[in-house]
């Protein structure tokens, strides 16, 4: 029972963060149609900014307020400068998708290496809320519970934003049919850039949350990108609730594999991904 | 024996039947027209025959052999060639290369390169594109691109040629030329099944017309029969009277 709680609750806790990262990618890939392989790099930058601010005495959870908007602006500008022009130059959506994938790889190299030049390659960490709490005999540190709670709150808040506001509805409309959304008077370039910005902001915030419970290094990004891609495929392309739930599912699977054999965790994500692509590319929530 | 025969051909997209239980046949040497309003399932039916899609359920027979589920290239090599509603040419290749692809890969026994070039040149002559043989295909006008598709289809040495809206968007002169071209193709002994909206063309050259509506066949007969059919006038040509009440 304790073992089960350890695996299951531990999976849900990390799953909360996976959800947040994946919802960000879902916006970028599902709506803006950019398979942003540099997604994890925004997370890395977010984590390091938090680390940096924490070192100069700022409460880590408060840095979310700085990291989120900053990453949003960076993502927004990036989309307007790089991806909009790729989109306008591409003859058809297929070319846009593959070119933006390659451009995202370029951005991945750029951002990661800027990170390395600033922060080096050695891992960093700080301790914050490092006491543990017992849940039915299973121990969890406070920082994880706080981070997961934060992630879930942000995720739900964003979902409410999507369903209840004018801009949120425009994003959902653009996700389903950008051309028609344009007919409704939605400025598509703007909305797609907005989505990309929100995606980057979510990655950044997830990075901040990760930094309060795990150690960080400039090479951490790609791992989270992979997780996000798997979750987005799992949850169904462009489905925000799908990504949210998918994050928890992958968290639990990852947790179970880690308990059994930590060396195979990453491999298990790829196996899930490959099987999904072959068997059900639409994802569990896709139609 | 019919050249091509379909029994209860059906195709669902999602929950919606795009083509439902359509029986049809095409005899050797005929020109068959396939008409119906937008969304009636004409192109879907074409896709089912040319194996871009697989009917579920239903049987399509060609020369008395079941051809459901074959790959498109097999269908092509059996002798069924097609053109597309929205042109699908190889835009960056020269015109003649487009046709050569057809003659190199289309027939059951492929031609040698030299023969293929010869055949391609002849076909371009036939459809009237020899002047632009070496320009990239994407630079042609829409009418010429459609002709190019016909030439490419002919290069595969088909018994049955399927033309999807060959005449859409053509002007009066081009239209007449296209009709002439179709007649010429028929003279070569090739059976034709064509989707068309231009009534004049359909009525003028088809031996038989099949009318689809909402995925169902509502009429099948000579142009005269179809034009006089009450159902067709109601649902397709648009009768003024109380059509809605029936």
């Amino acid at each position: 029972m304790e073992q089960f709680l350890n695996i299951f609750l531990g999976g849900l806790l990390i799953g909360g963060i996976y959800s947040l990262v994946s919802m960000g990618l879902s916006l970028q890939y599902g709506v803006a149609k950019v398979l942003n392989i540099a997604h994890g790099e925004f997370l890395m930058i977010g984590a390091f900014v938090t680390y940096w601010l924490q070192q100069s005495g700022v409460e880590p959870l408060l840095t979310v307020v700085i990291v989120g908007p900053t990453m949003f602006i960076i993502g927004f500008i990036l989309y307007r400068t790089v991806f909009t022009s790729i989109r306008l130059r591409s003859a058809h959506p297929g070319i846009y998708e593959s070119n933006s994938l390659l451009a995202a790889f370029g951005i991945y190299f750029i951002v990661m290496n800027i990170g390395i030049l600033i922060w080096g390659t050695t891992p960093h960490s700080y301790t914050y809320l490092n006491q543990s709490i017992s849940v039915g005999g299973a121990l969890f540190t406070q920082n994880r519970i706080v981070a997961a709670a934060f992630a879930v709150v942000i995720g739900i808040a964003f979902y409410l934003f999507l369903t209840n506001t004018r801009t949120g509805k425009a994003i959902r409309a653009a996700a389903q049919d950008p051309a028609t959304a344009g007919l409704m008077g939605v400025n598509i370039d703007f909305v797609l850039a907005l989505c990309f910005g929100f995606g980057a902001a979510m990655a950044g915030v997830a990075g901040s949350l990760i930094s309060i419970c795990y150690s960080l290094s400039t090479a951490m990004g790609l791992g989270y990108t992979v997780i996000a891609i798997v979750v987005v495929t799992l949850g169904g392309l462009g489905s925000i609730p799908g990504s949210f739930i998918g994050g928890f599912i992958l968290g639990v699977i990852g947790s179970a594999v880690s308990f059994w054999e930590p060396g195979l965790t990453v491999a298990s994500y790829y196996v899930i991904f490959i099987v999904l692509l072959l068997v059900r590319p639409k994802g569990i929530m896709g139609r | 024996m019919h050249l091509l025969e379909g029994e209860k051909v059906t195709k669902y997209f999602g929950g919606l039947a795009a083509v439902s239980e359509v029986d049809f046949y095409v005899d050797e040497g005929e020109i068959v027209g396939l008409i119906g309003p937008n969304g009636a399932g004409k192109t879907t039916l074409f896709n089912l025959i040319s194996a871009a899609l697989e009917p579920k359920p239903g049987i399509i027979k060609y020369k008395d052999k079941k051809i459901n589920g074959l790959k498109p290239y097999k269908i092509c090599r059996l002798g069924i060639a097609r053109t597309f509603q929205t042109v699908k040419i190889f835009g960056n290749m020269p015109v003649i290369e487009n046709v050569r692809v057809g003659s190199l890969f289309g027939p059951l026994v492929g031609l040698s390169t030299a023969e293929a070039t010869k055949v391609a040149t002849e076909l371009l002559e036939f459809v009237g594109l020899s002047k632009v043989a070496y320009t990239p295909a994407r630079d042609l006008t829409l009418a010429h691109q459609k002709r190019l598709e016909v030439a490419r289809a002919l290069a595969t040495k088909p018994t049955l040629l399927m033309l999807d809206e060959l005449m859409a968007g053509l002007n009066q002169t081009e239209l007449l030329e296209a009709m002439e071209l179709i007649k010429q193709i028929q003279k070569k002994g090739i059976t034709i099944i064509m989707i068309e909206h231009v009534m004049k063309a359909i009525m003028g050259i088809c031996d038989r017309i099949i009318v689809l509506h909402h995925g169902q066949k509502i009429a099948d007969g000579t142009p005269q029969e179809v034009a006089n059919s009450k159902t067709v006038i109601e649902v397709y040509l648009g009768e003024t009277s109380d059509a809605g009440n029936k």
Binding site: G94, I107, M112, G263, Y270, I274 | K71, F90, G106, P107
Partner: protein, 320 residues
């Protein structure tokens, strides 16, 4: 036979210059210092990988990120069989193993839409790395293998041989009926299918053939590395490099990928060996983004455009 149509000058120049260059490079070990041989070895390596990448991905537009997997298969073949048999057999085994792997991967994935194919192939590289790594650590209790080593000149000439074969095969594929089929698939897959091309087979076979050269090059390079582990063998950079080099060089002709490979491996030589590895990666990324936005047809495309414009400007007065 009619000889009047043959353009003798062109016939001499067209293969002439590449052959001259090849001879020049082939004798590098005789006149160059030890390091020139090593440097040229890397140039040739990247040309092989990039040209063979272009054989499939350039023609069909399917972005394959599996190059590293095939290269890695070659490396592992050398590590496993290098000591047991003559090296030339090892190269053949590497090529064959890679062919089979690519064939299987192609058969199950080439029906995936473009971007999914790219993701799948990338996943394949990482998965192979992780699984072999795990196998070595937990089952064998070690990581990596030693590879028999060979003199720099031997390695150089092996690679040169593979290079020549790759270029010839790429040229033949481009010029043959098969190449026409590939180009048709790249232009419009659906129409190609309906024109009688066995789309799936053509794609799978090309994919598998292009993998042969990558693996063969990997097998040779393994002897240069002398010690290999999954991280070296399945380094994702080997997947990105050919894509960038080909796109940067331009894929309309064989020269494009060659030029791209030479430029980048020289840049790599300047920055990566030395202490600017991270700057290399940074520049690599920046050029990748810039190329996609500003140079869709690559350097060779740009030069051809400029040349056309230059020629146009020069001949304009005579026309007017």
């Amino acid at each position: 036979m009619d000889f009047s149509n043959i353009n003798w000058k062109r016939a001499a120049i067209q293969p002439g210059i590449p052959i001259l260059l090849l001879v020049l490079v082939a004798f590098a070990p005789l006149y160059g210092s030890g390091y020139i041989v090593t440097m040229f070895t890397y140039f040739i390596l990247y040309i092989i990988i990039t040209v063979s990448w272009t054989i499939f991905s350039g023609a069909t537009g399917y972005i394959s990120l599996a190059s590293a997997a095939f290269y890695g298969v070659g490396i592992y073949a050398a590590a496993m069989f290098g000591e047991r048999m003559p090296f030339i057999f090892v190269i053949f085994i590497a090529g064959f193993a890679s062919f089979v792997l690519a064939f299987i991967v192609g058969a199950i994935t080439l029906r995936l839409r473009g971007i999914y194919f790219a993701m799948f192939t990338f996943g394949l590289v990482v998965l192979m790395k992780e699984v072999i790594h795990y196998w070595e650590i937990t089952i064998e209790g070690t990581r990596g293998h030693f590879v028999i080593y060979q003199s720099n000149e031997t390695i150089f000439y092996y690679l040169l041989g593979i290079f020549v074969v790759t270029i010839i095969v790429a040229y033949i594929i481009r010029r043959s009926k098969f190449g026409l089929a590939l180009a048709s698939i790249g232009e419009n897959e659906e129409a190609a299918g309906h024109t009688g091309i066995n789309v799936t087979m053509v794609k799978i076979i090309t994919f598998a053939v292009s993998a042969i050269f990558m693996a063969a090059a990997g097998a040779v390079m393994a002897t240069k590395l002398t010690y290999i582990d999954p991280g070296v063998a399945f380094n994702p950079m080997m997947s990105f490099s050919p894509a960038l080099m080909a796109i940067f060089g331009g894929m309309a002709s064989i020269y494009g990928p060659v030029a791209g490979a030479v430029i980048f491996s020289y840049l790599q030589e300047l920055l990566m060996t030395g202490s600017l590895k991270n700057y290399y990666m940074l520049i690599f990324g920046a050029i990748l983004v810039a190329t996609i936005i500003y140079l869709p047809s690559g350097v060779t495309g740009l030069i051809q455009n400029l040349w056309r414009r230059f020629k146009g400007a020069r001949s304009a007065p005579t026309r007017g």
